[in-house]
Symmetry: C2
Subunit: 100 residues, 2 copies
């Protein structure tokens, strides 16, 4: 690959990443919407926001789903952050926060 081809390829790859990022953003927001809805349902069942068993299950699910190139530990780290933020919006959804 010569310099010119490499420049075109770099630009193409960065555009591709931007397109992927747009979908990830949409899905993270969709996930947050579901978390907010969960925050509204849990008080009816007397359940707390923090559900360690469920969080463990979510992490196992993403580790099983992933087939690389990101290794399972990396995927787990990313989803630990996603779960943290989901828990926060669930808590802040108001109804959830009344459940203690």
């Amino acid at each position: 690959m010569d310099r010119n081809d490499a420049e075109i390829e770099l630009s193409r790859l960065r555009d591709a990443i931007d397109r992927v990022d747009e979908v990830i953003v949409r899905l993270l927001n969709q996930r947050a919407k579901y978390a907010i809805e969960i925050g509204e349902v849990k008080p009816i069942l007397g359940l707390p926001v923090y559900a360690p068993e469920r969080e463990k299950q979510v992490l196992q699910h993403v580790e099983r789903t992933s087939n690389g190139p990101l290794d399972p530990a990396t995927m787990r780290r990313l989803f630990e952050r996603i779960i943290d933020e989901s828990r926060r919006v669930e808590r802040e959804s108001g109804v959830g926060s009344r459940s203690g």
Copy 2:
């Protein structure tokens, strides 16, 4: 909503999150593949792995793209982690690491 409906709804929402997570996992891996390809192209251009201007642009792009419920600061935090992991796989892609 009574208890029974709430239990069904919670189960439905958790399934929906699992489906969203499967797609997020796929997209994070796709993003990593592009990052690895970038790690192969940059040495041809004499570019280092760390590209602060591009990383700033990626963060601005996701902040602009997001329309909530996650606020821009949250989205930025999540993507800072995603970029960190992408930079790591790009660096570890071997060819990239030879570029210094």
